[in-house]
Subunit: 243 residues, 2 copies
């Protein structure tokens, strides 16, 4: 399944739209936006008037504190990071382009009527934010209760599975624009220790990170090391409708 490049396509991938719903989603004005690696799209404290679907590239959700940055999530094509600002006016995180990105931007003034008039669509967007919360939950465990090698392994498993779901990875690896700094911010490890951990994983013959690419040599051992269970990603999430 390739990554959807519009909200309409993403919605269609999850539920069967009625004609009215499809029409409403189709007539949503979308703007395209490109950004360069490292650009900050949203800053904590902002009151965004739009949200965006990632068409291409990765976006980090992060918090900064005493100049130290924590990455809370890495959003992949098809994701809508910062959707929370649709109903929580002020955003409390930064959104940063990890590499060059292309986005499809939707005005909240268009999305909110959509949600009010089409409850099934509202519930679908809602469920996306629930999946994000579930991922946050797993990251609390990852960052707070696991050893360095397991943290890194788990992060890689998650990324590969999420990217695979939109056709951007397979069990042999994926493009990985994250630097070791990023990996440190996402796992709560120092860059130096990330480096040593990657070296160990390489020497173990589990994976190689090099030249902006993650090459997985032994997926099974990676999963075992991470003790990775993808349930929390709700990749088959279809909201249950009871009318």
């Amino acid at each position: 399944m390739p990554s959807p490049s519009t909200l309409l396509a993403k919605l269609e991938g999850v539920i069967d739209l009625t004609e009215a719903e499809a029409e409403a989603a189709r007539s949503l004005p979308a703007r395209r936006l490109r950004l360069a690696a490292g650009e900050t799209l949203r800053r904590a404290g902002d009151k965004p008037t739009s949200s965006f679907l990632i068409v291409e590239g990765l976006v980090a959700t992060a918090k900064i504190e005493d100049g130290r940055r924590s990455i809370l999530n890495v959003s992949v094509p098809g994701d809508v990071p910062g959707l929370s600002s649709l109903y929580l006016r002020v955003l409390d995180v930064d959104l940063v382009a990890i590499d060059d990105c292309e986005l499809a931007v939707y005005q909240h003034d268009d999305l909110r009527p959509l949600c009010l008039h089409h409850p099934r669509l509202a519930v679908t967007l809602w469920s996306w934010t629930l999946v994000t919360a579930s991922i946050y939950g797993e990251w609390i465990v990852n960052v707070g209760h696991r050893s360095a090698p397991r943290r890194i392994a788990h992060l890689f498993c998650e990324l590969v599975i999420r990217l695979e779901a939109v056709g951007l990875a397979d069990r042999s690896g994926c493009e990985l624009p994250l630097t070791q700094i990023h990996l440190g911010e996402a796992t709560g490890l120092s860059p130096a220790h990330v480096n040593r951990t990657l070296r160990d994983l390489r020497q173990e013959g589990i994976l190689i990170v090099s030249g902006g690419r993650l090459s997985i040599l032994d997926w099974d051992r990676l999963v075992t090391l991470a003790q990775f269970r993808p349930d929390y990603l709700y990749l088959s999430a279809r909201p249950p409708w009871s009318d």
Copy 2:
């Protein structure tokens, strides 16, 4: 503001209900449920058919892995932990009563029609799940990137502010049914180190935890130590309506 004991009361506290909405919320069948401390209400993997509002007591949202438990959130009266299961069929966390609890239980088969017919109510419930996600985000930072004393201090600040919002705490402290084991699971610290950290905080004259009570001796220093900023709790959260 006392803690709401029904969904209706909680909704009224956040938005002005239309007559139709109030009537719909009023006619929601609710069941009361009491549980003893330590009881598990929901287990990861469950497919709950109901959600509940906490009337009294604390509930931990937790994950277990190799017998090691991580607490992801501590829900207080007025909260609706596990609401995610309304639209994410299978729950991926445990819900555990920390002390004796009283709950108001609502069937999903009643809540889902409510959401479909009353979009403003749907959006309000949605926003509650968004606040939960925001709290998760802050916990990723807490547990992954902060020193032991700051973790504990931050957790206490959060609990006191959230409990204060429902009339169960003030700046001088609150009832605290959490054991040092719980505190360890919530902060990613070993029970032994929690104990030492609490001793340090006591010797510093910042707070005393004893006899199931948190006594705060110096709120300002506690906030400074934690570098606590309550924005992420969205205590004044009122969804923006654009019809």
